[in-house]
């Protein structure tokens, strides 16, 4: 399949699929977040204000004049100037963003009022949520706002609900950063337990940082990680390449290389340097759960938007996550739901690709499950299917009518602010539908997604299916039925909570069984690589600059060699199936790892740091940390950093290899630890 399709072609395709330019749809004034009904697609449900007395909203974003002003003949590049955000401002223009309070039924209990500076507003009686609306003046605005709503009990008091951030875009895409509450957890008994936690809930850390966390208490670390919005991660930005603007050519998005490399490097940069380690690990989990390959999607804006959606919802609410992902342009393209026509179902059945995987892989699995994850059996001892082929057809019909319609030409904006999905009622198969025995009503609008997801997510198989997969990825390939049921109870108790997944992850890590099966999972190549870099304190020599041409390119190469580029899962089944991590190790793949370990260990340097390299592993400072350059000191440090202390036998081998000079053969010593069976697992 050709992977390099230039932007001109992509734009041409969009032009062909989209309505004529003269009647380009306008993208403003109509979107209202959170009204009718809250939580449904097309609205973000707003922000829950119950329990609070005051609301303080701060908003930033851009509102740009779009369309009409750009002659089509000038093409995407020519339009870039016309689209430069003439009306953008760091803060929303006065009146561009308005807010109102609604009650639990979604009815307004206040009038719409402009969102001003960060002032406290009293929450009226009966208010359940605050919702937002873009109030464009001309009907031709586009843009997006990042909204942070603090719900507090006193004007200067502590948060009642924590912090919520909501991104409101005029045409309907929204992301709610859920309220994440930090809850104390039990202390850990050993440093090994802590290293286990840091490896499973993040990409490990240096010995020094492990010590620091240990002194500060694991429970504090976990509580922080469960509430990523409250972790100051501002330092990360300096080390990351800027996100490429949507309207730039995919071949040279940053002036010299292909956007695919940028996407991969950016996520590597996050995993290495973000303080929100659990958020990154959860993002990886969902990117593998909803495995989408750029190879087929072939659109930078779509992939960037998709990643942002997954990260935003990664520790939030499962139904929100599934609903959001379902209508992502990348997902529409990936599983053929784009342009899926339901207008003539009898003679022209809709494509069932997304429908089937939505049920089988994304939400509930093939067979009915008990709450402890064991299969439901019929009288003959056979498993019972969770859904039938008729259900696949019904869901396929219900989800027709969506189309990826990124604006043409692509504006010069952050792709994460583009809403690229529209719903066309004329191409939608009108319900009602019968899905796994339940009737789903249909009002012929995008709310159908939330209804379908709601029915699937309420299936008894869903919680054990999802929980088991989380346990298999984060804890053990064979979780006990008891463990599954305990976490399923937490899942179900929080099924509508905006921080459902954070609560689930908290319950998983505070369960005694979390520590029962340490070093039992084969590392996937991403973990193999990122863990090593973090454990050895690998870093860029300096913050990113435009002259730094290939930041993280060598890590990109390492992951490519080990066949686990984030954006190229081989199929919808991702790189491995849950519970099958051992499938990541075969004779051939092991040799590949050892080869890439050469590249990784060669980043270890005892001399000058490479200014433009993605990763330097600075052994001049590591030997200082190790307490000397002797073979014994360096070996001890490597064992502690990479292998939980290692085995006496491995220590002896590495020390022997290093001879009497701890630094001469440092690359080989790192390679020996990276290729050891001890390092293959976490």
């Amino acid at each position: 399949m050709p992977r390099l399709v230039c932007i001109v072609l992509a734009a041409a395709c969009m032009a062909a699929a989209a309505p004529a330019f003269a009647s380009e749809p306008t993208f403003a004034t109509t979107f209202v977040s959170g009204v009718t009904p809250p939580g449904a697609p097309g609205s973000d449900g707003g922000v829950d204000v119950r329990g609070g007395r005051y609301l303080r909203v701060t908003a930033s974003g851009t509102l740009a004049l779009g369309y009409g002003a750009c002659p089509r003949a000038t093409g995407p590049q020519g339009c870039a100037a016309a689209f430069s955000p003439a009306r953008s401002a760091p803060a929303a223009p006065a009146g561009a963003l308005v807010a109102a309070f609604v009650n639990a039924s979604g009815a307004l209990v206040s009038s719409w009022a402009p969102v001003g500076e960060a002032a406290y507003v009293a929450i009226p009686a009966g208010a359940a949520r605050v919702v937002f609306r873009v109030n464009g003046a001309t009907g031709r605005e586009f843009g997006a706002f990042h909204v942070v709503a603090d719900v507090v009990s006193e004007r200067t008091g502590r948060n009642v609900q924590g912090v919520s951030a909501s991104s409101v875009s005029p045409s309907g895409t929204r992301h709610t950063q859920p309220i994440l509450r930090a809850v104390p957890t039990g202390g850990l008994s050993s440093r090994a337990d802590l290293q286990h936690l840091l490896r499973r809930y993040g990409f490990s850390d240096t010995p020094a940082n492990v010590t620091a966390v240990y002194r500060g208490g694991a429970s504090g670390w976990l509580a922080q990680q469960l509430d990523p919005a409250n972790i100051d991660d501002s330092a990360l930005a300096a080390y990351m390449e800027p996100v490429p603007l949507a309207g730039t050519s995919p071949q040279t998005m940053n002036g010299y290389d292909d956007y695919r490399n940028i996407l991969e490097r950016r996520i590597i940069q996050r995993e290495v340097a973000s303080k929100r380690q659990l958020l990154e690990k959860m993002t990886l989990h969902w990117l593998e759960h909803f495995a989408v390959s750029e190879d087929k999607v072939n659109s930078a804006p779509a992939m960037i938007h998709y990643e942002e959606t997954v990260r935003t919802d990664a520790l939030g609410n499962f139904k929100t996550l599934v609903s959001d992902v379902s209508v992502e342009p990348a997902m529409l393209l990936w599983l053929d739901n784009n342009n899926n026509d339901g207008s003539h179902v009898a003679t022209s059945p809709p494509n069932e690709n997304f429908s089937r995987e939505l049920m089988q892989l994304y939400v509930l699995g093939t067979t009915q499950l008990n709450a402890d994850g064991t299969p439901v059996l019929d009288g003959s001892g056979n498993a019972v299917p969770a859904y039938s082929d008729q259900d696949v057809k019904q869901v396929a019909q219900a989800l027709t009518g969506f189309q990826r319609t990124e604006p043409y030409p692509l504006p010069m904006v952050d792709p994460r602010t583009i809403d690229g999905t529209k719903f066309f009622p004329t191409r939608h198969a009108k319900g009602p539908f019968t899905i796994i025995g339940q009737t789903v009503t249909d009002t012929g609008d995008p709310t159908i997604v939330g209804k379908v997801v709601g029915v699937l997510a309420s299936n008894p198989a869903t919680a054990p299916f999802e929980v088991k997969e989380l346990l298999q990825r984060f804890v053990t390939e064979s979780p006990s039925p008891g463990y599954v049921s305990r976490i399923v109870a937490v899942w179900n108790a929080n099924v509508d909570a905006p921080d459902q997944l954070a609560k689930v992850m908290q319950a998983i890590a505070t369960d005694p069984e979390f520590y029962a099966d340490k070093q039992s999972l084969v590392k996937e190549p991403i973990e193999y690589t990122i863990d090593a870099i973090r454990e050895l304190n690998g870093a860029q020599a300096a913050p990113y600059t435009a002259s730094m041409r290939t930041p993280y390119n060598s890590v990109h190469g390492v992951l490519s060699g080990m066949q686990e580029l984030h954006w190229y899962p081989p199929s919808v089944f991702s790189f491995y199936r849950p519970g099958e991590k051992e499938s990541l190790l075969t004779n051939s793949l092991l040799l590949t790892r050892w080869g890439e370990a050469v590249a990784l260990s060669n980043r270890a340097t005892t001399t000058t740091l490479c200014a433009n390299c993605d990763v330097n592993i600075d052994f001049t400072s590591l030997t200082t940390l190790a307490g000397g350059t002797s073979a014994a000191a360096v070996t001890g440090y490597l064992m502690d950093a990479l292998a939980d202390g290692g085995t006496p036998e491995l220590s002896a081998l590495v020390q022997n290899y290093l001879g009497n000079n701890g630094t001469t053969n440092i690359k080989g010593a790192v390679w020996l630890v990276l290729t050891s069976p001890e390092y293959e697992v976490n």
Binding site: M1, P2, L335, D336, N339, N340, D341, T347, S348, P349, P350, N351, E352, N353, R356, Q360, T366, T367, P375, N382, A383, P385, D389, Q390, D517, K518, Q519, S520, V522, Q563, P570, S571, V572, E582, S583, L585, T586, N587, S588, L590, L591, T592, W594, G595, V598, T647, E649, L650, L653, V654, Y657, G668, W671, L672, T675, S676, P677, E678, E680, V681
Partner: protein, 427 residues
């Protein structure tokens, strides 16, 4: 399951270590047993556009119409022009055949069929007893284990289980995969496959810049593998590491003995390259008796007939299998080798609204080789008698198919497929 895999890995290493290499090579040279090459058409190959039912062409053509415009039907005139029509009697010339048509891109396979080297199994699939048979995961899993395996009772493949009984000999496991992955079909209780990826020359120990340092690294690495492991998974990794280092030298010997310089070009084709590596190992006298290769891309939910999709894939597969067979024939080895194709499931006869086809039931399987009795086996599904889901009724139970292949490997298939089936007679 995992435990038994681990146990095997240790065992294999021990036996590989205990026998001098030259003795094992002699043993392999003397072997005359069937070598089975399985090819997975990954994603669910559309059997109706692979073998076109000329005898039901009107109904076929109706079902393949894309209501929005266009058609997925392969034109009978194209089949005529390509000369890929065939009848059950393989001696019937293509110009006179009226019953079936291979896809017009499969001219190479049609030529082999005319020589009586190809069995075409019609309507092969998983019976309705598995209600989840239209899922990729379930379909592949059933095909890999040779059983309706709804509860995942076994993760052992039918080939792996066959070698649990037959055993292996030589410095390598009895089976090998050449696409990086360790497929379930090759996993047994007491054996698991050698796994190679890319060209055989890649299967080496990478250890840095070479020289004395490289040797020192390899010595330390292999020494560490002899120590006990502290954790369960590390034990698995250690056994694998140890087995891998022992296989490297053996594979390199075979690679050097059969560099494959005379093999036809495999440029731009993964499946051709995979089959070439297999041909090299067979030509070098490797003791391996079953191989696995895979070709992806068959999950054609949309734009099925566009470039790079189904038509090109079956054309590529036809060329790949034919050049593989012809190469081995030239080496005097084709009488030992049997190639078979399998796929997750067949596809829906009716085209969907995005010019593709959705998951269905029966597909077609090819079995190729000198030991194969060429011709047609099973009945082509009746396109006028679809089930309530719009799928055809399967004509050959996949377990029956597998049963005959296990028997050809030299062991009783009954315990593996969970029953006894009448011989289809293609081998």
């Amino acid at each position: 399951m995992l435990l038994s895999r681990r146990r095997f890995l240790c065992g294999a290493t021990a036996s590989a270590m205990s026998m001098p290499l030259f003795m094992r090579a002699l043993e392999a040279d003397a072997a005359t047993d069937t070598i089975l090459v399985t090819i997975l058409q990954d994603g669910g190959c559309d059997g109706f556009n692979t073998v076109i039912p000329l005898a039901q062409y009107g109904k076929y053509s109706d079902l393949r119409t894309v209501p929005g415009g266009g058609s997925l039907a392969v034109l009978d005139t194209d089949i005529g022009a390509a000369g890929t029509a065939f009848d059950a009697n393989y001696l019937t010339p293509a110009s006179q055949a009226v019953t079936y048509g291979l896809h017009p891109k499969m001219t190479a396979l049609r030529a082999l069929y005319g020589q009586g080297k190809v069995a075409v199994l019609m309507g092969v699939g998983i019976p309705p007893a598995d209600p989840s048979r239209t899922s990729h995961e379930v379909g592949k899993f059933d095909w890999a284990t040779g059983s309706i395996n709804k509860l995942g009772y076994t993760n052992l493949g039918w080939i792996g289980q066959a070698f649990d009984t037959i055993g292996g000999s030589g410095a390598l496991p009895p089976s090998a995969s050449v696409n990086y992955q360790s497929p379930i079909v090759l996993r047994g209780r007491t054996n698991s496959p050698l796994v190679i990826g890319g060209d055989l020359s890649n299967f080496t120990l990478p250890c840095g810049s070479g020289g004395a340092d490289c040797a020192a690294r390899v010595t330390a690495l292999t020494t560490n593998d002899t120590f006990p492991s502290p954790a369960t998974s590390a034990e698995f990794a250690r056994a694998l590491s140890s087995a891998t280092t022992s296989y490297v030298g053996v594979v390199q010997q075979y690679a050097a003995a059969a560099p494959g310089a005379d093999y036809p070009s495999t440029a731009g084709s993964s499946i051709k390259s995979q089959l070439k590596q297999i041909a090299r190992l067979i030509a070098a006298g490797a003791p391996t008796r079953a191989y696995y290769a895979a070709q992806g891309g068959y999950d054609t939910h949309s734009a099925q007939n566009s470039a790079g999709h189904h038509p090109d894939l079956v054309g590529e597969l036809s060329d790949a299998m034919t050049q593989f067979y012809t190469y081995l024939q030239g080496k005097g080895l084709s009488q030992r080798v049997v190639i078979m194709t399998m796929t997750d499931f067949g596809r829906r006869p009716q085209a969907n609204s995005t010019a593709g086809t959705d998951h269905g039931t029966a597909s077609v399987s090819f079995v190729i080789g000198d030991r194969v009795k060429g011709g047609v086996y099973g009945q082509y599904p009746n396109l006028s008698a679809l089930d309530t889901n719009g799928n055809v009724v399967i004509q050959v139970d996949f377990r029956n198919h597998i049963s005959d292949l296990v028997a050809a490997l030299g062991t009783d298939p009954t315990p593996i497929v969970g029953g006894s089936y009448p011989k289809l007679g293609f081998i």
